[in-house]
């Protein structure tokens, strides 16, 4: 990519007009730009040359697969046998003939209602602690973020061991403080999801850091003014911190929601690729079902349909969240 341009840097919009001199149109950024000179055409060609890797990736890895995904979901494609067109039968199968489909939906929805509020609230509480004007906060902030840089597999391997019902360190601790019959965690269908949540809480630092940035962006004068008007700490939190933080909270809500929908990595480590997904399929997350149908059983067409159903569910959830945004999120003018 050795584009050369002589010293006649004239004509392009980006050229500083005052340096080049008159005879050029004034800068009109809102109009569609067209190259009017040779230099401008060279600049345009250079720009597209720089964009080549992205354009290639866009076509090969995004645009074509997206189209293929629609087609696949309408076929009975198996990895080594090209699929026949079967219309909407994959979708009908999911809703009427695959009992695991509803089980996985229920696990995923339960997980969303458990994990999203938990991670949002605990993140905020930790951020409020870190936002106190006391020495040493940098240290705590650094330590609390550590799990966020570790791999989901490493964390799952560690916590799977810690949460072993009989000999795990967590239950030893619980027995020491007098709980004689602690939960069996991953071995108990009722406690498997809370165990995943506990594992997720280990990464509370990620949300806390983002909240903290939002907290530190709040103008301190607001608190001073409220203090002069006689507001107590709780009133300040309710009427200043929460509204000023609501855009950050909304950002995190969307992020947590989409993450909760597609959680899979640590789940495969804990429940394995095949067999029951935790006791009584209690860890049969939607993406785990998709992974098993598509990549373990090789039913790529059916898995593609499952992916589209998940996408529609995700879009509906995000749409609902945006409906709430107008009521609960405060944007500064």
């Amino acid at each position: 990519m050795g584009m050369q341009l002589g010293s006649q840097g004239v004509g392009g919009e980006g050229v500083d007009l005052s340096a080049v001199g008159g005879g050029l149109e004034p800068r009109r950024p809102h109009l569609r730009w067209r190259p009017s000179t040779a230099a401008g055409r060279i600049e345009e060609r250079a720009a597209y040359a720089f964009l080549l890797p992205w354009l290639a990736g866009l076509l090969l890895f995004l645009a074509i697969p997206l189209g293929v995904a629609v087609w696949l979901s309408l076929t009975d494609d198996q990895l080594l046998r090209p699929g026949r067109f079967i219309g909407l039968d994959n979708y009908a199968r999911a809703f009427t003939r695959d009992p695991s489909f509803y089980k996985s939906l229920s696990v995923t929805i339960t997980w969303i209602f458990l994990a999203v509020p938990l991670f949002l609230v605990t993140g905020l509480l930790v951020a409020l602690l870190l936002n106190q004007r006391l020495p040493g906060m940098t240290f705590f902030r650094t330590v609390l973020y550590v799990p966020a840089v570790l791999s989901g597999v490493a964390i799952a391997v560690l916590w799977f061991t810690l949460l072993n019902g009989d000999i795990g360190a967590v239950n030893q601790l619980l027995r020491q403080v007098g709980i004689s019959d602690p939960p069996q965690w991953f071995q108990d269908s009722r406690w498997a999801l809370p165990a995943v949540a506990l594992m997720g809480l280990w990464g509370v630092g990620t949300n806390a850091i983002i909240y903290l940035a939002g907290l530190q962006n709040i103008n301190p004068e607001l608190y001073e003014a409220a203090g002069m008007d006689g507001a107590g700490p709780l009133q300040k939190f309710r009427h200043i911190t929460l509204p000023m933080l609501s855009p950050t909270m909304f950002f995190l809500l969307i992020g947590e929601l989409t993450a909760a929908l597609v959680i899979i990595g640590p789940i495969i480590v804990i429940s394995g690729a095949g067999g029951a997904a935790g006791p009584a399929d209690s860890l049969l997350f939607y993406m785990l079902l998709l992974y098993r149908r598509g990549f373990v059983e090789g039913q790529l067409g059916y898995a593609a349909a499952l992916a589209w159903i998940l996408t529609v569910i995700g879009l509906i959830l995000v749409w609902i969240t945006f409906r709430f945004e107008r009521r609960f999120v405060y944007y500064q003018a």
Binding site: F50, R141, V143, V153, L290
Partner: protein, 300 residues
């Protein structure tokens, strides 16, 4: 954009003056520190337990009553050597594989994203705004939908069982990084390009000699995020690798849990080995990294 975040986070209120604190303030400080110390223990105890388990020799039980959270009795560094050199499945090979993939991904990400961000930030061409909107739009594409056709594509290309599906996409850019670098490149003065052009430099020279070096702070953020993403990736290797010789650390570790008769001290040593490089990178880059993450949140 990254530096803004870093500043806002490091701009702390001055520590209270030494000396007498009023009782209410003392109680407040005690409460805050108490909570934070509990949280720190919540983070540190599992890591401590893992280290304790890894430092035990093979004949000592890993699970004990009461639990040993920190190493006091055994300091058998040999466990790490055993894990790295384990016959048949030496973790040293997995470390090498993972490192190789991470390095290729970093090179790909730094090169491609800066190449792509450069025209978006500093050149004029038809379709610029539409294409940039497209970059942003790709962030919203549903990953699960792309999973299966991408797999089929790589499979039909004959890339299954090789590192190509795990490396080639890194060379085609990533929407978030393009956006981050474009924002950063816009802050570099245009006079530098002008001066270079007067000296006869072409666009490639300007990119390579001026924009790339001056974007170093943002490129470090790209490199660190790419390293963490590649090193910690599990799903990609799970889908595309079938030869245990090519396995990455995360993939090799994931198979340990379900195995019967597991040597837990070896697994915990291997787990620690897999955590060490991200921890080192984090320690070296944490100010910039936390700043970058924080600035993402403010934008939202």
């Amino acid at each position: 954009m990254t530096s803004i975040g870093a500043e806002s986070i490091s701009r702390r209120a001055p520590a209270p003056a030494r000396g007498r604190w009023p009782p209410r303030r003392l109680a407040h400080a005690a409460f805050v520190y108490g909570c934070l110390i509990l949280l720190t223990l919540f983070i540190a105890l599992p890591l401590g337990w893992m280290l304790t388990a890894a430092l035990k020799p093979a004949h000592v039980p890993v699970f004990t009553v009461p639990t040993q959270w920190f190493p006091t009795t055994y300091f058998n560094l040999g466990t790490f050597v055993d894990a790295l050199l384990r016959p048949g499945e030496p973790y040293l090979r997995f470390v090498g594989n993972t490192l190789f993939l991470a390095v290729i991904n970093i090179i790909g990400a730094v090169l491609s994203n800066s190449l792509i961000a450069y025209p978006f930030s500093r050149l004029n061409f038809r379709g610029k705004n539409i294409l940039f909107a497209l970059v942003i739009a790709t962030m919203l594409l549903p990953a699960p939908v792309l999973l299966i056709p991408q797999f089929l594509l790589f499979f039909n290309l004959g890339w299954y069982g090789t590192y190509l599906p795990l490396t080639v996409p890194a060379f085609t850019g990533n929407a978030f990084f393009i956006f981050l670098l474009r924002q950063y490149m816009r802050t570099i003065p245009k006079e530098l390009d002008e001066a270079a052009r007067i000296d006869g430099a072409g666009y490639w020279t300007i990119y390579w000699r001026i924009i790339l070096p001056l974007s170093a702070p943002a490129l470090v953020v790209v490199a660190v995020f790419t390293f963490l993403g590649s090193w910690n990736d599990f799903f990609g290797p799970l889908l595309y690798l079938d030869d245990p010789h090519l396995f990455t650390l995360a993939l090799a570790l994931s198979t340990e849990v379900s195995r019967r008769g597991t040597e837990w001290n070896i697994v915990m040593a291997a787990n620690l080995i897999s955590m060490l490089p991200p921890l080192v990178v984090y320690a070296l880059s944490q100010r910039r990294l936390l700043g970058g993450i924080a600035s993402v949140g403010i934008r939202g």
